[in-house]
Amino acid sequence: MSKLTVSPSPHIKSEMTTANVMTHVIIGLFPMIIAGVLIFGGSALMLMGLSVAMCLLWEKLFCVITKKKDTTDDLSAVVTGILLSFNVPATLPLWMMVIGTFVAIVITKMLFGGLGQNFANPAIVGRIVLTLSFAEAMTTFVEPFYYRSTDVVTQATPLATGKASYKDLLFGNISGCLGEVCALAILIGGVYLLCMRIITWHIPLAYIGTVGIFSLLAGKDPVYQILSGGLLLGAFFMATDYVTSPTTKIGKLIFGVGCGIITCVIRFYASSAEGVSYAILLMNIITPYIDMATRKKPLGAKEG
C-alpha cells in the first residue's frame, strides 16, 4: 500500500503558472521582434539575442554565487532581456548592452530578492542607466532600413523632429529604438496580452488616454504624441509589469494617469525629448503608496 498524500485544499490548481505568464508576454513581444529585425537588420537581432542571453546568464550566475535556487526557468529574465534590447538603438556597442543587462538583472532585480521583489522595472532602470552613462551612443539613431544602403545616415527621432507621417509611425518607417518604432507591432502584441488576460486595459488606457488629453490641452498633436517615442511600448509592456505596478484596478488607473502626466511634462517642458522611462520609474517608486491607498475593503467587514 502506497502512502496517501495529505495536503491542504484546494487540490486542483489553474494551468496558469509564472512561466506561462512570461511565455505569453514573450509571444506578445514577437511582432516587435520581427518588426525590429526587418527595420534594423541583423544588428537588431544580435542585440536582442545578446540581451536575452546575458540576462539569463546574470541571473544564473547570481543564483549560483548566492547559493540560491536557479530561477531562470520562470522566464522573467527573457522578458527583461527582450524589453531592454527594445529600448536601445540598433548601433549600440555590444559591450554597452552587456552593462545594461547587468544593471537590469543583478542590480535592479536580483539584489532586491529576485522576481517579484524589485521595486522598479529592471528594463526601465537598465535603459535609464545606459542613457545617462552613454548619452551619445544611446541617442544616435540610424535611419530605418539603413542596412540596405551603402552609407549609414543617422537621424533624430520623430519625437525630436516632429516630422513624420502617421503612416511611417504606424509601420515603423522611422528611426528610433529597436522595439519602439513600429506602433502597429506593439498594438498587435498589446491586444494579444489583453485577449489572453495577461494584462488588463486599465494601465494602457489610462496612460495613453492621459497623454492624448494632455497633448490636446498643450496644443500638441495627440495622435503624433501617442504613436511616437516609447509610449506604446511603455504603456502596454513596461508600465503593466505586475511586480512594479499597483494590484487593484483603481490603483492601476491612478498609475496610468500618473505615468501619462509625467511623460507629457518631460516631453513638453523638460530638456529631454522622451519621458516614458522616467515616468514609469517614478510611478514604480510610488506604487507601494498607491497600493496602500487603494486597498479593497473586505465585504461585510466591521470596523476595528
Partner: protein, 428 residues
C-alpha cells in the same frame, strides 16, 4: 456591488449516473462525531445486538446530533478513532448480520407544531449536508423575536467539481426536496423560499420549476455556474443581494441556508422515521474506472466504496472526502463514510509538479476572492507574524474556498496560509 467568483472546470462525469445501492459491507465503523459540535457517547456496548435506525450515540451537549446504526448486527468493538479533521472520538464497530432488520423505534414522528418539528429533526440525526455538518435542529431553532427569518435559501448550487450527489437528489427526489422545503416553511413560518441551482444543471431547474409552478412563494433562482457559488455568504448574496456581516449568521439578514439534500432528507424522515443512516455520495477521480453515485450506509470503509466503483486503491495517492476545492484529504483508506460526506474522490500521483515561485504581484488572488480579501498581503503578514496587519486585513473572514490558491500563477499556498494565520489571532 459584485462578488468575485472564478471559473473552474466542472468534471461532472456522474451527472447521468443514477444512484445505486451499494452491497452491504461485513462491518461498519460509526464515528461518534460526524457533525460540527460535541462528541456523542456510545449508548451500546460490545456484544449488543443493534438494528437499523437504532440510536447508538447521543449526548446532552447542546451542539450535537444523535447517531444511529446503519446496519443490523452485533457491536464487536468500541475503538478510539481519529477522523481526518483531527478531532478524536470513539467509534462503534458493528458486524453486520445481513438481515437489515429495522429497529422498532423507527416510525414516522408525530409533528404538530414548530417545537415537535424541531424535536423530530433532532432525533433524525440530521446535520447540514453541504459538508460542514452543522446540526440542523439548532439552525431551525432560531429566535423568532430577535432574528426573524423571512427567506429560506435552498442550496443546490453544487459548485465543486466532480460532485453530483445534490444534483441527483434534485432529479431523483424532486418531491422530497419540494415537500421538505414546504415543511420547513410551514412549521418555522418562513414566508419565502429560494431554491438556488447553478445553470449547468438545466434538468434540475426544469424539474423544480415544474413542481413549484403553483407556489408563488417558492422561487427558483438560476445561478451562474461559478465558484464558490454554493458558499453560504455567496449564495445568500446571489439569491437575496444581501451581505452577511463579519461574525454574523445568515439570520442577521433574515435568511436561513439549507442544503437541498438536507431538505429532502427531512421530508423522508417525517414520512418513514428512518434516521440519517445512509448517504448518497459521488465516487469519482482519475483512478476511479466507474464513476458513480452510490447510496452508502454510514460507517462503511471508503476502500470498499472505491472498490465498488472499480478503483484500484493500491495506486491511490490522494483520497478526498468532498470536492477538490475544499475537500479534506483522508489519511487512511479504511476511513468510514460519514453523514456529511457528499463525495469520495481518488487520484493517482500527479506527475506534473507545480513549481512555486515568488509572488509576481499579478493581483489575480485579489480579483478572485469573493470577500475582497487581499491574499498576497495576508501571506506576507502571516510570514512575518504581523498579527496587527492580519486583523486589519480581516483574515478571520476567509472561508477557505481556495479560489486564491487556485488562480495563483506562482502556485503559492495562499488559502493554507490564511487558515494558519487565523490561529495567530487573539481568541475572543
Amino acid at each position: 456591488m459584485i462578488m468575485n467568483k472564478i471559473r473552474i472546470p466542472h468534471f461532472k462525469n456522474t451527472n447521468q449516473a443514477e444512484t445505486v445501492d451499494i452491497p452491504l459491507p461485513e462491518k461498519v465503523k460509526i464515528p461518534m462525531c460526524q457533525h460540527l459540535g460535541m462528541n456523542c457517547e456510545p449508548l451500546v456496548k460490545v456484544g449488543d445486538l443493534v438494528k437499523v435506525g437504532q440510536k447508538i450515540g447521543d449526548t446532552d451537549a447542546f451542539m450535537s446530533t444523535p447517531l444511529h446504526s446503519s446496519v443490523s448486527g452485533k457491536v464487536v468493538e468500541i475503538v478510539d478513532y481519529l477522523p481526518a479533521n483531527g478531532r478524536p472520538c470513539k467509534a462503534v464497530v458493528i458486524e453486520t448480520d445481513g438481515l437489515q432488520e429495522v429497529c422498532e423505534s423507527v416510525k414516522p414522528p408525530e409533528i404538530s407544531d414548530r417545537e415537535s418539528f424541531i424535536k423530530a429533526v433532532k432525533e433524525s440525526g440530521c446535520c447540514g449536508m453541504g459538508g460542514a455538518g452543522f446540526p440542523t435542529h439548532i439552525k431551525l431553532n432560531f429566535d423568532k423575536e430577535k432574528t426573524p427569518i423571512d427567506s429560506l435559501v435552498i442550496n443546490g448550487a453544487e459548485c465543486e467539481p466532480y460532485i453530483t450527489s445534490d444534483y441527483r437528489e434534485l432529479i431523483e427526489n424532486t418531491d422530497d426536496v419540494y415537500e421538505g422545503v414546504k415543511l420547513v416553511m410551514k412549521y418555522l413560518e418562513i414566508p419565502n423560499a429560494y431554491i438556488c441551482i447553478e445553470d449547468n444543471k438545466p434538468e434540475a431547474i426544469k424539474k423544480l420549476t415544474e413542481i413549484c409552478k403553483n407556489d408563488e412563494n417558492i422561487h427558483i433562482v438560476k445561478l451562474k455556474s461559478s465558484y464558490p457559488q454554493g458558499a453560504e455568504k455567496v449564495i445568500v448574496f446571489s439569491a437575496l443581494g444581501k451581505i452577511i456581516k463579519e461574525g454574523e449568521l445568515p439570520s442577521s439578514v433574515g435568511a436561513m441556508v439549507m442544503n437541498c439534500t438536507t431538505a429532502g432528507f427531512i421530508n423522508r424522515y417525517t414520512k418513514t422515521g428512518m434516521p440519517l443512516v445512509s448517504k448518497r455520495i459521488t465516487v469519482d477521480g482519475d483512478i476511479v474506472r466507474t464513476p458513480c453515485n452510490v447510496r452508502v450506509p454510514v460507517g462503511m470503509a471508503v476502500s470498499e466504496v472505491l472498490k465498488f466503483a472499480d478503483c484500484n486503491v493500491e495506486i491511490a495517492d490522494k483520497l478526498l472526502a468532498g470536492g477538490p476545492m475544499m475537500g479534506m484529504c483522508l489519511y487512511d483508506v479504511d476511513t468510514p463514510v460519514c453523514k456529511t460526506n457528499n463525495a469520495l474522490l481518488a487520484f493517482k500521483k500527479n506527475e506534473k509538479q507545480n513549481v512555486m515561485t515568488n509572488c509576481i504581484r499579478c493581483g489575480r488572488c485579489m480579483d478572485a476572492c469573493p470577500l475582497n480579501l487581499m491574499p498576497t498581503l495576508l501571506e506576507k503578514a502571516y510570514d512575518t507574524k504581523d498579527v496587527d496587519s492580519l486583523k486589519k486585513l480581516k483574515v478571520n473572514l476567509c472561508m477557505n474556498c481556495g479560489s486564491c490558491s487556485y488562480v495563483c500563477p506562482a502556485k503559492r499556498n495562499l488559502a493554507e496560509k490564511n487558515q494558519l494565520a487565523k490561529a495567530l489571532l487573539p481568541r475572543k
